[in-house]
Symmetry: C2
Subunit: 114 residues, 2 copies
């Protein structure tokens, strides 16, 4: 047997970050473009843009800076605060996953050997 | 902002315990009856029975003992091993929830104050 865990961040009952959203923002940060990040996930530019806007609204601060290119395909990058938020969250979720698995092995050793 | 977490146990890719399944077994343990536990969750006896059988198949050991009454509404109880498994899992999940929230507060204090 093994333990599974899922983590996400909410604000006032709405999902801010978790799973696919974190990955989209990280890819955007690496590729420097909303269009190219959207392509990686098989999303349209419009859809990815909508996801980003929702994340920003729910987080309450700007996460993606598009002033280099604009909405129509130019460059984009994570704001310093956005980058810190995404990286901190991603690291936290990975650390929590490790903790969860470790505690599971400690507690359910007898059961999980069956 | 707040962190949300969900935990469950799998065996060979199939869910053994988590969320509603744990609650059903705990209620069965408290009420001593599959029928009464099923009623609490708005399930039919047959449906609850199916859930229990799946949990047992996936866990690989007997969790509910029905020999006191039989399938048609008599008494039921958790086996000692089943009871230990359900309680250990439930306590682990609650402890993990506490750890997750604590780590979140430590790491994302700055962001979550926004």
């Amino acid at each position: 047997m093994e333990i599974k865990a899922k983590f996400w961040i909410e604000n006032k009952g709405e999902v801010v970050l978790g799973g696919g959203k974190t990955a989209l923002l990280q890819t955007l940060g690496h590729l420097g473009s909303i269009q190219r990040a959207a392509d990686e996930f098989g999303m349209s530019y419009r859809y990815a843009w909508g996801v980003i806007k929702k994340i920003e609204q729910r987080a309450g601060f700007k996460i993606v800076d598009t002033k280099l290119g604009g909405k129509d395909g130019g460059g984009a990058q994570l704001t310093p605060k956005g980058k810190a938020f995404v990286e901190t969250t991603d690291t936290l979720f990975k650390d929590l996953q490790t903790i969860v698995e470790k505690r599971f092995r400690q507690r359910l050793r007898n059961h999980s050997s069956k």
